[in-house]
Symmetry: C2
Subunit: 478 residues, 2 copies
């Protein structure tokens, strides 16, 4: 035994002691994370808090490797690291079971992460993070929208709105095409993306100097500089005209601009901004990338598509998209906005019923004509239909005409209704919703076998089919 | 960037990848942990996953220090360790705010812990642990019972019963008195307790050899051997007669035997066993110690009183009692007993409403004559009143006549009813329950100010006051 010594041992720098009041705040954040992810059809998983060091050195950018807490067991020779992010663990887990997992696999995870960086406001050495990922899907643009809808509903559930923050989108394929069209050599692409990602954090001159220091020639660095300038111009005028003028050779890659109509249908258009200057620091992103930017230009969440990563961890080629969101900056933002409930209100907010683990609605299309109706219906059911003019507490049930529900869709390609309903039952769904056109819907209670078919003329609640379906289910579940 | 390499990186030895099915199982365990602790009036806290190394070297037995994962930040000179247990963090947190905390302070915590020991069945290098502690109370024996009641209700909520496991109690003060009465020198007490704790894990001869190797003289080691023999004899015949005969000089220290009547009143007598051979390995225990022993002699939880520890971390002298329970052996035990729900049943179990964060019942005694009624009433309200002859699923709501509730008591010494009700309101309680003798109770709805006074003749449900109170509240909350 060491000799008694009663001077206090402080907590390690950058870590937190959570007393009951702070713990309730953290539980408020994790409750909204979990409830929202579940309603969007994601299943919870978790991995170890530490991993073999090699898991991180294999694929992350150098940025994250320098921030690792590394260690060994006394007398052991394995190198370990505390996890700085979830994606490598996720890739390992998916790769190990890829053959038996559904397409797509939708997973979320909540747990502690660790970075050996200098602690500052909004950045700690231990923090909580939510990770949400869609892996192995067959419709990548749809999976991207699925992930983005979760991001938006997370903030919406906390009472935040599009005037406080934006989900800023870009596509690395587009940036790469633009850069290539200007003569950037492929081997310098990663460095260019790193410079892009750090523009705004450090002076451009310093970033270019760092690029030169790695041995990149003067002519290539000149292309870096011109690209940064034109990208900024295109970002300042985010219309197709400006884009086509500045980057005529990349004009067919306008996937980003085409999404806006769909975002409108999903009710999230106001939350989205496009910016071709978003790159994301991590090396593994391949397509869509996004950051959530709150007032004051802070990035408070981020993610993107990483289609090559699962293969790198021994799995099959697998398209994938996901994002991470930390609890520290989020808590500060909610405090700033007066949206973090206190005292009795916090207890009331935490006492709201948890999201149903059973899917409450399971949506299938009666024919391919209705496929396009699925995403907007899911978006409405998962978000809940807000009561007109509500301006009370974000967590109050008074807020909703139809409360948010756990809603899923079939991803099967068959049109055989019997098989589709079997899929719904396998996932323990309560109600199957079969769309037969914009004016006709069939709602089937899978527990009681009761079945309702309604056509537009029958909709007493609202002419909108989503409100009808939501109300029909909500009444039966009440 | 490291060169691509697609061979899989395995998880670190002794860690777990939790896929959705395994995650639901873990969430089932943590839900029952959290719900039970909340209903018993404990508030959730958490600390960092890693601490300054000194926090552990200061007070733990050498046993735990050799199992630490230790590390530094690259370029830093602070020594850190992944937390192997919660108690040092708890002591630090309590010490830092002792002056402003209530008496007693009742805290629980759920999170990951780490031990660099050899992984085996039931022992991993990363695991979850529940910690439950009562700090700074003025009635130590009552606080001990409070902690023990939580232990029992945790297992009961999972469908386990006293035929599957026992809470085995001992008191270190008693063992120390017995050892001293035989001539054991105080400086060898810690080593003796360590030998005692390891009896059953290793051959006695080997343990005594290890004691000799530390320089303890032959005559003292002989006392070790005789003590172990007589302790075993007393443990095999756990009656006061045997005890008094073997240890006549410790005969006034029979606190353990006196508790049985109280355990009977709390409805947990069947779950309790006494054994003077339980010591607990950690050096900081000072009084009551206990282990939960399941069939097959596995210790699946343990704890005790640690009255000197808070002071060691810079706080005031503070009586304290608590316990820890890990998820790994618990999961194995539930599997063995067929008590871990599967598939749809697991989802149903997880869908049971969470324990109310608001205290539903807040109990005060009308006069000192009713003080002794408080603990049994709390025990019944927190446990729920089980329907006669129920033998269905442990998580089913059908199981209860009166469902388990979040119940608290006042710890204030005043008899001023107005002040006591103010205490109830400060804690956001819904109902105050004022006991006016075994046959008369006042139930006050603190939200609506509605008040009911019932006497024995009015009890239509059950002659037992606890059932009446529980039913009265449950009906109003429904």
């Amino acid at each position: 035994m060491t000799k008694p010594n009663s001077s206090p041992v402080p907590p390690a720098k950058g870590t937190r002691d959570l007393y009951p009041d702070q713990m309730l705040r953290q539980n408020y954040i994790t409750k909204l994370w979990r409830d929202t992810a579940i309603r969007h059809g994601f299943e919870e998983i978790n991995g170890p808090s530490f991993e073999m060091l090699e898991l991180y050195t294999r694929k992350s950018g150098e940025g994250i490797v320098s921030e690792l807490f590394r260690f060994r067991r006394e007398g052991g020779d394995d190198d370990y690291a505390l996890r700085p992010e979830f994606t490598p663990t996720l890739a390992r887990m998916y790769a190990a079971k890829a053959a038996s997992l559904p397409s797509p696999t939708k997973w979320f995870s909540i747990g502690p992460y660790f970075r050996a960086e200098k602690p500052q406001r909004g950045r700690l050495r231990e923090f909580l993070q939510l990770n949400v990922d869609v892996l192995g899907g067959s419709d990548q643009a749809s999976d991207d929208r699925d992930a983005i809808c979760v991001v938006v509903d997370l903030y919406r559930s906390m009472g935040l709105g599009p005037s406080s923050l934006k989900v800023v989108l870009n596509d690395r394929r587009l940036v790469e095409k633009m850069a290539t069209s200007r003569g950037l050599e492929p081997e310098h692409m990663q460095m260019f993306l790193w410079v892009m990602d750090n523009t705004g954090k450090k002076p451009v001159e310093e970033l270019l100097k760092q690029a030169r220091a790695t041995g990149i020639g003067q002519s290539q660095v000149k292309i870096f500089a011109e690209l940064l300038q034109d990208l900024k111009a295109a970002a300042d005028h985010p219309d197709k005209g400006t884009f086509d003028r500045l980057f005529p050779d990349a004009a067919d890659e306008t996937y980003l601009f085409d999404q806006n109509r769909l975002f409108e249908e999903l009710g999230i258009r106001d939350w989205i901004a496009n910016s071709i200057t978003i790159a994301r620091g991590l090396a593994y992103y391949t397509g869509t990338v996004f950051e959530v930017i709150a007032e004051g230009e802070r990035a408070i969440a981020g993610g993107g598509r990483y289609d090559n990563l699962i293969e790198l961890f021994g799995g099959p080629p697998t398209p994938a998209v996901g994002f991470g969101m930390g609890d520290v900056v989020l808590g500060l933002l909610l405090d700033d906005k007066g949206l973090m409930p206190q005292g009795k209100e916090l207890i009331d907010a935490l006492s709201q019923p948890a999201a149903s683990l059973r899917p409450e609605a399971f949506v299938v299309a009666g024919s391919e004509d209705e496929d396009a109706l699925i995403e907007p219906l899911l978006a409405n059911l998962r978000r809940g239909i807000e009561t007109e003019g509500f301006d009370g507490k974000p967590w109050s049930t008074d807020r909703y005409t139809v409360r948010p529900m756990h809603a899923r869709r079939t991803y099967k390609t068959t049109r055989n209704l019997k098989k589709l309903l079997a899929d719904a039952e396998k996932q323990h769904a309560r109600f199957a919703i079969v769309l037969h056109g914009p004016d006709k819907v069939q709602v089937k209670d899978l527990d009681t076998r009761e079945e309702l078919v309604h056509e537009r003329g029958d909709f007493s609640v609202d002419p909108q089919i989503d409100a009808y379906v939501g109300t029909a289910i909500a009444q039966r579940l009440a």
